[in-house]
C-alpha cells in the first residue's frame, strides 16, 4: 500500500535522527536550508514509493516535523 511522508521543513532542525531509524533507508539530508538555518531532511521524490508507512521516523523526531500517511482499501459497495 502506498505511503508517503510530509516533512514540515519549517520545524526540522536537521538532527538526522529520522535517517537512523528508517528501515528502508530512504530518508536523507537535503541541500536546502530552512529559515532558521537548518539543513532539512527529505525523502527523494523518486524513492517515496519505497516508504512502508511505519512512521518510525515520526516516532523518533523530537520536533513533530514529520507526518506520515498511508492508504488502505476502502470498503467497497453499499450494504
Amino acid at each position: 500500500m502506498p505511503s508517503r511522508v510530509e516533512f514540515r521543513e519549517d520545524r526540522c532542525k536537521g538532527c538526522l535522527l529520522c535517517t537512523e531509524v528508517c528501515p528502508t533507508g530512504i530518508i536523507q539530508q537535503s541541500s536546502r536550508f530552512n529559515q532558521k538555518g537548518y539543513k532539512v531532511t527529505e525523502i527523494a521524490p523518486d524513492r517515496m514509493n519505497e516508504c512502508k508507512g511505519c512512521a518510525f521516523c515520526a516516532m523518533m523526531c523530537p520536533d513533530y516535523a514529520i507526518n506520515v500517511f498511508t492508504t488502505k482499501q476502502a470498503k467497497g459497495g453499499k450494504k
Binding site: 523518533m60 523530537p62 482499501q73
Partner: protein, 253 residues
C-alpha cells in the same frame, strides 16, 4: 478503492509551537510521550503541570495545560501543595538531572517517600544543559563538563547517582522505571512506562516515577547522531533500563 489515512496523530494538547530545544535533544520526544499518555487516558482536562528549572522551563509553551513555574529543585514540593489543594486533579512534575538530583534531592526523596499521588518525569542527560554544560549528579565518570574539565573523577566528585534505584527503594513509591528514547523500540517501551505512571496516579496508590535517559548534543559537544549513540554505548550500561518498582505487578513464580 483506496483511502488515505493519517498514521501520525499528534495529541491536541501538544501546541504547534516550534521548540527552542537544540537539534537532537530528546525533550521533544519526552514531551510527546507525556502528551500521548494523558490524552489516551482522558486526563488532559484535569492535568496540572509543575514546571522546573532547566532547558525545559518552557514546557508550558508546548503543552496546553494549567501550569506553574517552580523554583529550582522544588517542583515536587510545589506539586505536593497543588495535589493536596486539588486531590482530584492529575499533577506531574517534569525535571532535569540538576533540578531533581542536585538541588532538589530532598524534595524528590520526601515527596516520593510520602507517597504523594503525583507523577515525576525525570529527564536525565548527565549534564546541566541550560546553563552551559556543567557537571550534574548523573555525569558519568570520565565525562568532561565545564566544571570538571578533566573528566569526572570518583575521588573528587563521587560517583554518578542512579535515581530510579533510589526512588524505587522508598516506601511511598508505586512505580519506578527507567527508559530511553534513543531508538524506536525504546520509545515504545518508554511510551508504555509513561502511560503506566499516569495510570497509577489515577489509582491513588502512591508516587510514580519515570527516568528518561536523554541526549544533550550541544553540551556533550557531539552531533545529534553521535549523542544518540552515546545513550546506547555509555549511558544505558551505567543506568540500566527497566522497571524497578511496580506495586501492581503480578509476582513471578
Amino acid at each position: 478503492m483506496t483511502q488515505e489515512i493519517r498514521v501520525t496523530n499528534y495529541p491536541e494538547v501538544l501546541t504547534d509551537r516550534p521548540s527552542h530545544y537544540c537539534p537532537g535533544c530528546h525533550h521533544g520526544t519526552a514531551h510527546r510521550l507525556v502528551a500521548e499518555a494523558i490524552t489516551d487516558l482522558g486526563l488532559v482536562d484535569k492535568t496540572i503541570l509543575i514546571g522546573s528549572i532547566g532547558c525545559s522551563v518552557f514546557i508550558y509553551n508546548y503543552l496546553s495545560l494549567d501550569a506553574i513555574e517552580s523554583p529550582h529543585g522544588r517542583a515536587p514540593a510545589v506539586a505536593t501543595g497543588v495535589k493536596r489543594a486539588r486531590p482530584d486533579k492529575i499533577v506531574f512534575t517534569y525535571q532535569g538531572d540538576g533540578d531533581l538530583a542536585s538541588i532538589g534531592m530532598a524534595e524528590i526523596m520526601h515527596c516520593a517517600n510520602r507517597g504523594e499521588n503525583i507523577t515525576t518525569i525525570f529527564v536525565n542527560n548527565t549534564v546541566y544543559g541550560m546553563t552551559g554544560g556543567q557537571m550534574a549528579p548523573t555525569t558519568l565518570v570520565g565525562q568532561k563538563t565545564t566544571t570538571c574539565p578533566g573528566g569526572r573523577c570518583r575521588e573528587n566528585e563521587g560517583m554518578p547517582i542512579r535515581m530510579t534505584e533510589i526512588i524505587a527503594s522508598l516506601g511511598g513509591v508505586a512505580f519506578a522505571e527507567r527508559v530511553a528514547v534513543n531508538n524506536v523500540k525504546n520509545i515504545m517501551k518508554a511510551k508504555k512506562a509513561v502511560a503506566k505512571a499516569f495510570e497509577y496516579q489515577t489509582k491513588e496508590i502512591g508516587f510514580s516515577f519515570v527516568e528518561v535517559l536523554a541526549t544533550c548534543p550541544t553540551n556533550w559537544r557531539m552531533t545529534p547522531l553521535q549523542a544518540n549513540k552515546r545513550v546506547e554505548t555509555e549511558m544505558i550500561p551505567y543506568f540500566p533500563l527497566g522497571n524497578y518498582k511496580d506495586v501492581l505487578a503480578k509476582e513471578e513464580k
